[in-house]
Symmetry: C2
Subunit: 222 residues, 2 copies
């Protein structure tokens, strides 16, 4: 845990849960992702379909639409799927752009069906197998806390800076740009960085979203 992260909220063992307050658990916490894969090739349909088949969806709900593919499940399964999906498309050699959107704990009604006020959920940092595919990414993290909890005041920039410091320690951080942080490295290392920021902030904030745009095999790359 990076020192800039606020102290995690812990419920003492045996402490009674107040009546009517739902307990956060992995099955009702709205942990999921949306991913849009764009492949700049005349064979894009075949490459995208092949990549969707190549990714291991064990343990996940996957629903492909015309704008994005929705993925829901536990964080390690979800991140493994995203890493395999994106790297499979990149191995075609075509220029690939992937937009990845992670969300947890949304207290919405229609969108996520999670009751409000359930509080944050502790998850572990995810580790992924190296893909061998280098990428450049732009990342934005959104801690969405209105009121604070257990003496920890909301401060979305504090949480964002802590996640950026984590990326610096991990070696994927390149620089801060307007509105986003630039990351470079293996697709798996970038996804690990982004997921870690999301999970770590999610230990004190219920609703956390992040967005990552990944560019691979770009002709205007380095």
């Amino acid at each position: 845990m990076h020192p800039n992260y606020p102290t995690e909220v812990t419920v003492p063992a045996g402490a009674p849960v107040p009546a009517g307050v739902p307990v956060p658990d992995r099955d009702n916490f709205g942990i999921g992702a949306r991913v849009t894969l764009a492949v700049m090739s005349p064979d894009y349909v075949e490459i995208i379909l092949r990549s969707l088949r190549a990714a291991d969806a064990t343990g996940l709900e996957v629903e492909t639409g015309d704008v994005s593919t929705f993925v829901a499940g536990r964080e390690p399964d979800m991140l493994r799927y995203l890493s395999q999906l994106i790297s499979a498309a990149a191995r075609s050699g075509a220029h690939v752009v992937a937009s990845v959107h992670l969300s947890r704990g949304c207290p919405g009604e229609v969108q996520c069906e999670l009751p409000g006020g359930v509080g944050p959920l502790h998850s572990e940092i995810v580790e992924l197998e190296e893909t061998g595919v280098p990428a450049a990414g732009e990342w934005a993290l959104y801690p969405l806390e209105d009121t604070g909890r257990n003496g920890v005041d909301p401060d979305h920039m504090r949480d964002i800076y802590a996640a950026i410091d984590y990326a610096k320690a991990k070696g994927t951080f390149v620089k801060s740009e307007h509105f986003v942080t630039r990351l470079e490295g293996d697709v798996a290392r970038i996804l690990e960085t982004v997921a870690a920021g999301w999970v770590l902030v999610g230990r004190t904030v219920q609703h956390v979203a992040c967005h990552l745009t990944l560019s691979i095999n770009s002709p205007t790359g380095r």
Copy 2:
């Protein structure tokens, strides 16, 4: 103004500005966008370069990188540019995916150089010329308020629902999905909807970001 939006914060005419508090103004408010255009065609480089040239960048700072193009300036100029850029690419007939990220009032240091605590900035809703290009989009809005201001408490879901109600009234709303709202219509109408939510929430919240993924000419569309 939709009734669900919180009452706008107004400073009485002639009220003294407290010493040391920066006044929000359009030139230091970090109003900008990032856009990534993906064109699924062997001619994607030529189509993207032609579209960048076709869009009217008057009044804007535009900087194209290998992951996204950064655009900064007044809201009407910025939205006109995005609408012209995306619709130009779509007129190639190729399947186009555009990722659009709008941001205003970020109190970050490295990223946006806006001092914290300047408060919200009033902007007008933007109107755009019809493009004739139909699109489907997935939209997420992030009001990033930590402390409230002038008696208006932070409530990010209240602000998001107000923006969704605005989209319903405008006719671009199709349905709520997990983490996003699905919009359909002319590219200009979708961008107007997204920008309106961002501007309206921005009348009470300093830091507001939103993300839109647009899909045009999709072979899996309707």
